[in-house]
């Protein structure tokens, strides 16, 4: 059963990106690409030639996207219980963060100034949104009395509403949605972190990114609305919410967005302490 779920969830994670693009296009009054466009993109990237600067050629640079992709798939395997052991919030957050950090290390090792600025921006964002993630999780654990994520079955939005809303705001930074998308700002730093990657490495990078976004949607739906079939309905709702926000807001400047995110992290610590 579990393996079937994973084999469904992985393509769905990529498909969600296609739906997001379609929604964005509709908000902008365009027809938009077909929903399966991300698959076409990935196939094309996979067949593309790989070129990189001689300064970028090092083991970390090559290994980072592949390791990140492997960790992401591993994360899906344990989320849907394929590996056959119960796991807690801590393991989940650890794996989720590690995949992101490895991508940052990969981009920093490329020695490109664009990647460097993007990596530094992503690190600062990571510090902020991980705090929100952890304190929301702690709040939900203490409220539901359940340490294991695999046994967690509560609607977080009702038992800890403030923390849940803060988690949704952290989602902007995780999914790189405006106004909190400085690390992926194409006009400023030409999408920076992927600047030096091409071909199959970029394929692995993009796929890991799609899986990461998908995992956030799945996890947010489980945390906020409970682990049941009905919470699946909320995944499109989350998608619609983020696409709408992306379509209607410009980007904050990097300093301003980081200070906002750190303030929200502070709020999440307070709300976690108060248990709301």
């Amino acid at each position: 059963m579990g393996i079937k779920l994973v084999l469904t969830a992985l393509p769905v994670a990529v498909l969600l990106e296609g739906v997001r693009r379609k929604l964005m296009a509709r908000f902008q009054g365009r027809k938009g690409p077909p929903v399966i466009q991300p698959f076409y993109d990935l196939i094309k990237l996979f067949n593309k030639e790989r070129t990189e600067a001689s300064e970028s050629r090092n083991l970390i640079f090559y290994a980072a996207p592949v390791i990140s992709l492997a960790i992401m798939i591993f994360n899906y395997l344990i989320l849907f219980g394929v590996l056959g052991f119960n796991y807690d919030f801590v393991l989940f957050i650890y794996l989720f963060t590690t995949a992101g950090v490895i991508l940052i290390i990969g981009s920093l090792s490329s020695k490109s100034p664009l990647s460097f600025v993007g990596g530094v921006r992503e690190i600062l964002y990571l510090i902020a949104y991980e705090v929100i993630f952890i304190f929301t999780a702690l709040n939900l654990i203490s409220k539901s009395g359940e340490l294991m994520l695999s046994n967690y079955n509560n609607a977080g939005l009702f038992i800890a509403p403030v923390s849940s809303v803060l988690l949704l705001i952290a989602g902007f930074a995780i999914l790189k949605v405006t106004p909190f998308d400085s690390p992926a700002a194409s006009a400023e730093i030409s999408s920076s972190m992927t600047a030096e990657y091409s071909g199959k490495l970029l394929f692995a990078y993009e796929l890991a990114d799609f899986f990461k976004n998908g995992l956030f949607y799945f996890t947010a739906a489980i945390l906020l609305f409970g682990r049941n079939t009905y919470s699946l309905i909320f995944i499109p709702a989350l998608l619609l919410f983020y696409a709408l926000m992306n379509a209607t807001t410009p980007r904050y400047s990097f300093i301003r967005s980081t200070s906002h995110l750190l303030f929200i992290a502070l709020l999440s610590i307070i709300s976690g302490g108060l248990g709301v």
């Binding site: 908000f27 902008q28 194409s186 006009a187 030409s190």
Partner: protein, 383 residues
């Protein structure tokens, strides 16, 4: 993040034409910016030398793809100045309609780029949709979307009929309504206000010291518009130069949006003054003469100096608005944040292919070279 050297361009999503900005930064703050151009130099001035006046008018259009008509009209005005030809009011107004439509299309395109740089792609799409309507108008009136080639010496190739007038007015009313709607959204959007306000500050003193022109100067409180000199019948139309005292990116945005509305008003007045069809073209001959003209292109004052002998151009010198606006850019980038660079670069509306001229000064003698000559002499390329 100390002493970071940050390259912007020649290929970069933040700059729409190939320029190379080498930015030195301390942390997230820019300490110095250096500019290197020459990527789209095509030797247009040299190309026009030796051409017949009427051919050169078409060549001038090819200097720019956005303000092509401004170049054409400026050269036409210079040639007509030498010949002392004063076209009829209907001809002048037909030219003004095309010129102002071009200003609307240029500003709408610029607004799209600015919001794309600010991460607001929805407004980018919305503004470009309105721009498309202007391009359709161009196609209907002149037969071309970008290079219109409507001018002859003393007359125009096209006539704007009564049905065209109705259609133009109807389309422009639609655009005005939409632009006003977006303007309301813009001034109510706190994120845009926060992002644009106080960024890229060009004080009035700096603006005049660096000789900025056009909307960039007007947004810094300098009340100057070349149209106020009354060339090409602008003295018969009532309009005002839109200015602002805020001096930042937000002010430049607001000035350009208001200029769109003002241009629509000008077109409505100009259409009423077109009463007679354009006269037929009579061949002209210039034995020897020198002339100049200046017009208000979408980005500011455009200047042409020409020297003519036996109806062929001996020398052409073009001074485009971006040439005036660019030096101040490198100055105002100092002390700004890295994330504001695309906004500031976009805010002066640089048109690089307009600007790129090459003047070699060697031993006190200046030399204008075509692209091929330059490559042959200095880059070791053969023909």
């Amino acid at each position: 993040m100390h002493n970071l050297k940050f390259p912007i361009g020649p290929q970069h999503p933040g700059v729409k034409e190939p320029i190379y900005l080498k930015v030195f930064a301390e942390g997230d703050t820019v300490t110095k910016a250096e500019f290197r151009g020459g990527y789209v130099h095509r030797g247009m001035e040299k190309l026009m030398e030796g051409q017949e006046t009427i051919t050169a008018m078409h060549s001038a259009e090819k200097i720019c793809g956005i303000c092509s008509y401004a170049h054409n009209s400026c050269l036409t005005n210079a040639i007509e100045g030498i010949l002392r030809i004063n076209p009829s009011l209907s001809v002048k107004m037909t030219r003004n309609v095309i010129g102002e439509l071009e200003r609307i299309h240029s500003h709408l395109m610029w607004l799209g780029f600015l919001f794309h740089d600010a991460g607001f792609d929805t407004l980018f799409m919305y503004y470009w949709r309105e721009r498309e309507k202007v391009l359709e108008l161009f196609e209907k009136i002149t037969g071309q979307r970008v290079h219109h080639a409507i001018n002859f010496i003393g007359t125009t190739k096209i006539n704007i009929s009564e049905s065209d007038k109705l259609w133009i007015n109807k389309t422009l009313r639609g655009i005005k309504e939409k632009v006003n709607d977006y303007y309301k959204d813009l001034i109510n959007n706190s994120v845009i206000k926060e992002r644009f306000s106080g960024v890229g500050f060009i004080s009035k003193d700096y603006a005049s010291l660096y000789n900025t022109v056009g909307p960039t100067a007007r947004a810094s409180g300098i009340q100057w518009d070349t149209r106020l000199t009354g060339y090409s019948g602008f003295n018969e139309l009532s309009f005002e130069a839109i200015t602002s005292r805020d001096c930042d990116v937000y002010a430049r945005t607001i000035v350009r949006i208001k200029e769109i509305t003002e241009s629509i008003n000008i077109i409505e007045q100009a259409l009423e003054k077109i009463t007679k069809p354009a006269p037929a073209w009579k061949e002209t001959w210039i034995k020897r003469g020198e002339g100049y003209a200046r017009v208000e292109a979408p980005r500011g004052e455009l200047f042409y100096y020409i020297s003519v002998k036996k109806n062929h151009l001996l020398r052409v010198k073009v001074k485009t608005p971006t040439f005036n606006n660019f030096p101040v850019l490198l100055k105002i980038l100092e002390g700004e944040k890295l994330s504001n660079i695309p906004l500031i670069v976009a805010s002066i509306d640089p048109c690089i292919s307009c600007m790129e001229r090459l003047l070699l000064v060697k031993d006190g003698r200046s030399n204008i070279l075509s692209k091929h000559e330059f490559l042959r002499r200095y880059c070791g390329h053969g023909h």
